[in-house]
């Protein structure tokens, strides 16, 4: 080995503590890059393969009922490549041993397997056979959760009667990668089933002979990217059959959640590694500057001996390069493992793929190493080029002593004099090496920003859940009927055992229109003073139900561009009613979905119903046996088409979201801690080595090591404080940006700042700074005072 390489290795080994800190920060950056990029490719590839395998539809149109022959008209629309009619209905499932009726959807499939749009992938058992007409295929996640196998029987309540089906197989489909039932946002595979039955059976069960209520289709290539025009034309064609929803792929619920996750990964893959690698490059920059300065004479000597600038440059760049390679290799390996574990244990829980791709991507791994190398070389550059500029004769002379100068604070003589000598020492230390102090502040502010953002997201999610489930939706159960029923249905339900309190509701699917803007939503009719669904205004107070007009959620009002007092057109989707003009009576706050509320009597009037009810929300008696009896009766009430529970949704959301956020919070604390720890340790160790002589003199004068260490600690804490002050608003700003940009029609994230989170950020940041002081104190204790005093000049 060349002697200079040997020198390099020995020096790297000598600085191992400091280098470990930098390498871990680099590795963290690369870990995030490789991890997130691999996850991105895993999900992206899985999605692409799966969608093409199942021939995922580009659009879905839901109508009330239409003859299949009429669909032929769709061929006339340019841009529509292919389509398939099907029958889709909500069902409830009566599972033995399960108290609560479970919700689901039933879909029709051709009798024989064919490469249809939105096809299924059989996981267990087989496709339909000819032996029985009542054959059913279940979605695999539900079957697994509920322990159902081919050969078992299952009872579904549909079209107001109970039917027994024979399970022939379990399957997955690309339209249900992320299965959310009802209005939830987290998957609940145990409580939401997808059931496939033969077309002929579906026609019989729902009286849909030669008819369908949903069309799924594929668009021709140019229309795929801009489907709006084609979908408008489809909607106009199908208008007579009561179009209740036209859903392009991008709004399809499963696709939406999957794509959001993929998009999020894309953002994170740039931001997080960017922060870590920049911090590492800056720390490395400082370290290299110091190293090269310490080796001025060596550089001069090498030049005198005849080494070229290039050779010396390369020698010192190798220093940074080795660090970059180590960090890159470590980060890439950990990043790959991270992606593997995440894919296997987290994503596979949320996303149901027949095969979730989980593999290393050589390109990504290599890029991880290359960017790490690049940042490290960039970080080393400044220190190295600085010495390159010196003539060899100049480089060989020791660096002239630092010139003492007054700092700006000293202008206020009174204030300056009131400070202790130790504080003055710390402040001078900070102002003496401004570049290093700025780097310390930068690192601390980045660490603070990271912590703050994650804590803010945690607070915001908590606020969202809290708001939605303690302020707006507080029912224990909501039961839905297939068709509107009279007030008697409500009274009957109210009398059921275990019902403590109940309120009638009327949900009307409709199109709201204002000028050229329109949106398909469901308006919910409530009784005045309702206690189980409470419209809340933007100030957080209950918004009284108007006797005339609608209450619209803020997001919906924005989409329609309306304010209080504006008139909008109201058109029920599944009934042939003429358009009615209704006023906007108030704007309310809502984080889940696009809500609209009205007085139930008012809503009845505008759709020409009389005392109609199609849903009932209720509170049950807090007694498990009584509640069980209520649920048992509910299961035997065939008119019930759906059962949901805000209480259950909240629990599920809390468990899922809180769990996820706790994991990411812990990870963030560790990584932000690395930034604080690494940067403080590095800068104070360098500062210590620079000021050895000065410190040795103080020691000889009678200062204890503890007093000397305190000066350094004070310096670190001042920088840390400034970093916190810079990082807090940055984190709050970034958090706000994330809350705003993540908001969609499906859910919005409120922006909340809780003082507790600011406090946690400050405590964690300061804690890691104090922790970094431990090795520094040890270095001071171990310092060779005598030789430090005899530094040659």
């Amino acid at each position: 080995m060349k002697p200079l390489n040997r020198k390099l290795l020995r020096e790297l080994f000598r600085a191992k503590g400091m280098l470990a800190a930098i390498i871990s920060i680099i590795a963290a950056g690369v870990l995030f890059f490789v991890g997130m990029a691999s996850l991105y490719y895993n999900l992206e590839t899985s999605r692409r393969l799966y969608y093409s395998k199942c021939r995922m539809a580009d659009f879905t149109v839901t109508v009330k009922k239409m003859p299949v022959v009429e669909l032929e008209q769709l061929h006339e629309i340019k841009g529509v490549s292919e389509f398939r009619p099907r029958i889709l209905f909500p069902v409830t499932v009566d599972l033995p041993g399960v108290e609560r009726p479970v919700s689901g959807q039933i879909l029709s499939l051709p009798e024989e397997p064919a490469p249809i749009i939105n096809n299924i992938v059989i996981r267990k058992g087989s496709y339909f056979t000819d032996s029985l007409s009542s054959e059913i295929i279940l979605n695999d996640t539900f079957a697994t959760e509920r322990d159902l196998e081919p050969g078992d029987q299952i009872e579904l309540i549909l079209n107001e009667r109970k039917e027994v089906f024979h399970i022939v197989g379990t399957a997955l489909s690309s339209e249900y990668v992320y299965v959310v039932g009802g209005g939830g946002i987290v998957p609940d595979p145990a409580n939401f089933g997808i059931f496939y039955i033969k077309e002929s059976l579906a026609e019989d069960l729902f009286n849909y002979q030669e008819a369908a209520n949903q069309v799924v289709g594929i668009l021709e290539e140019p229309s795929r990217k801009q489907p709006d025009d084609v979908l408008d034309r489809i909607e106009r064609k199908l208008e007579p059959y009561g179009v209740s929803a036209v859903t392009p792929l991008e709004d399809q619920s499963s696709h939406f959640f999957l794509s959001s996750e993929i998009e999020n990964l894309k953002t994170v893959v740039i931001i997080l590694p960017g922060i870590f690698l920049t911090v590492a490059a800056i720390i490395l920059n400082i370290l290299m500057l110091r190293l090269v300065e310490q080796q001025r004479t060596i550089v001069g000597t090498l030049k005198a001996i005849g080494y070229t600038n290039r050779e010396i440059l390369i020698h010192y760049l190798k220093f940074g390069g080795t660090i970059g390679l180590c960090g890159g290799a470590l980060g890439s390996t950990l990043g790959y493992l991270f992606a593997e574990v995440m894919t296997k244990h987290v994503y596979s829980k949320f996303f149901a793929f027949p095969k979730l791709v989980n593999q290393p991507y050589p390109g990504v791994l290599l890029t991880g190493v290359v960017i790490s190398l690049l940042f490290s070389l960039l970080g080393s550059m400044r220190g190295v080029t600085k010495v390159m500029a010196l003539s060899p004769a100049e480089a060989m002379r020791p660096k002239p002593p630092v010139r003492g100068r007054r700092i700006w604070l000293e202008k206020w003589t009174g204030l300056w004099k009131s400070l202790t000598l130790q504080t003055q020492f710390s402040l001078r230390g900070i102002s003496r090496n401004r570049m290093r102090s700025l780097a310390g502040i930068f690192a601390a502010s980045m660490g603070t920003m990271l912590l703050m953002v994650v804590l803010l997201m945690y607070d915001s999610m908590e606020e969202m859940m809290d708001f939605q489930f303690t302020k707006i939706l507080v029912n224990d159960f909501e039961i839905g009927f297939k068709d509107p029923r009279g007030y008697g249905a409500f009274l009957e339900t109210k009398r059921m055992p275990g019902v403590d309190y109940a309120e009638p509701m009327l949900h009307i699917a409709c199109t709201l229109q204002h000028e050229h803007r329109e949106k398909k939503v469901t308006v919910t009719g409530l009784i005045p003073g309702s206690r189980l669904t409470i419209p809340v205004n933007t100030e957080g107070d209950r918004e009284p139900l108007p006797t005339v007009g609608l209450l619209l959620s803020k997001r919906l009002a924005e989409i329609l561009d309306v304010g209080v007092g504006d008139q909008i057109w109201f058109e029920p989707t599944d009934r042939e009613e003429e358009l009615k003009k209704v006023p906007v009576a108030g704007i309310i706050n809502s984080y889940l979905g696009l809500s609209a509320y009205a007085d139930i009597d008012y809503l009845n009037r505008i759709v020409d119903y009389e005392d109609a009810v199609n849903s009932i929300q209720l509170k049950t008696v807090r007694d498990p046996t009584v509640e069980a009896e209520f649920l048992r009766q509910l299961k035997n009430t065939p008119v019930v088409q759906s059962v949901s529970s805000a209480r259950h949704d909240r629990q599920l959301l809390e468990e899922t979201m809180t769990g996820q956020l706790m994991i990411s919070l812990s990870i963030t604390i560790v990584f932000a801690g690395m930034i604080f720890f690494g940067s403080v340790l590095n800068s104070s160790l360098i500062s210590l080595s620079e000021r050895e002589q000065e410190i040795a003199t103080l020691h000889v004068l009678g200062y204890t090591t503890r007093e000397i260490a305190r000066m350094f600690l004070q310096e670190s804490l001042i920088l840390n404080l400034v970093g916190l002050l810079v990082g807090l608003p940055l984190g709050i700003g970034l958090g706000w940006l994330m809350c705003v940009s993540m908001g969609t029609d499906l859910f919005r994230i409120p922006f909340v700042i809780k003082p507790g989170s600011i406090l946690i950020t400050i405590v964690v940041g300061t804690g890691f700074t104090l922790l970094a002081h431990v090795p520094l104190k040890r270095s001071i204790d171990r310092m060779d005072w005598v030789s430090a005093l005899n530094v040659k000049e």
Binding site: P3, I298, N309
Partner: protein, 238 residues
């Protein structure tokens, strides 16, 4: 010693600019050095002797005047940075007052740093043998005495097989007997290998061992004396 001029310094001046202040260090210096000379340049500190040595070694450029190497072949005062580097690489060996060894390399490795630069370089072990350090080859600088470290530095300087050895106060940090032994090594390299040695010192006693003694003061050459009978290092004392 031969009649062939190896270094010719013609009318060389050097002025350092520090901020707004100009500090003249050398003024119209003329000097001819022959191949095989043992030149001792004596002067008090601040007289400009180190600057002169740096100019000869190609570590710095004169403000005016010319310096020729192996004259009149190469005008080193007009060299570019890379030409100066090549010149130092091939023709010059440096010995410094504070040795300037790389602390993280052993004696052998420190010599190897220089020997591998030159095609005509000698194996590090041979160079260390020449300075009598064959028994300390695996030691790090911190494990050696000052005299030993300076021997490593000399071994490093000759390992490239340069024609000129430039020594900047090589005994400045050493006691008398160690200093003498270092001078002995340099003397031997001059006598046995025919290396041209240019040594600067503030110690006028050393001047007696040179074949040419140059006294320098306030940036000019005060006197030049050829010494047909140089004394051996053992006879010098200070």
């Amino acid at each position: 010693m031969s009649d062939k001029t190896i270094i010719s310094i013609q009318n060389v001046s050097k002025t350092f600019v520090m901020g707004d202040v100009k500090v003249p260090v050398l003024h119209s210096v003329n000097l001819e050095i022959h191949e095989g000379d043992f030149v001792v340049i004596v002067g008090p500190s601040g007289s400009g002797k180190s600057t002169l040595l740096n100019l000869i070694g190609g570590l710095d450029r004169p403000t005016s005047g010319e310096i020729w190497f192996d004259s009149p072949d190469q005008k080193i005062s007009g060299f570019s940075d890379s030409e100066l580097t090549a010149y130092r690489r091939e023709h010059v060996g440096f010995v410094f007052q504070f040795y300037n060894l790389v602390p993280t390399l052993t004696a052998t490795e420190n010599v190897q740093v220089a020997s591998e630069l030159s095609h005509e370089g000698m194996p590090p072990e041979e160079a260390l043998n020449l300075v009598g350090l064959e028994h300390r080859v695996e030691h790090f600088p911190s494990q050696m005495s000052g005299g030993e470290q300076q021997r490593v530095a000399i071994a490093r300087a000759i390992a490239k097989n340069p024609r000129v050895l430039l020594c900047d106060e090589p005994t400045g940090a050493l006691d008398l007997s160690t200093g003498r032994s270092i001078l002995g090594v340099l003397h031997r390299l001059n006598q046995e290998l025919g290396k041209t040695v240019i040594l600067i010192t503030h110690n006028s006693a050393i001047a007696e061992m040179g074949t040419l003694c140059v006294h320098i003061g306030s940036g000019t050459i005060a006197s030049k004396e050829s010494n047909p009978h140089p004394v051996s290092p053992e006879e010098i004392s200070w």
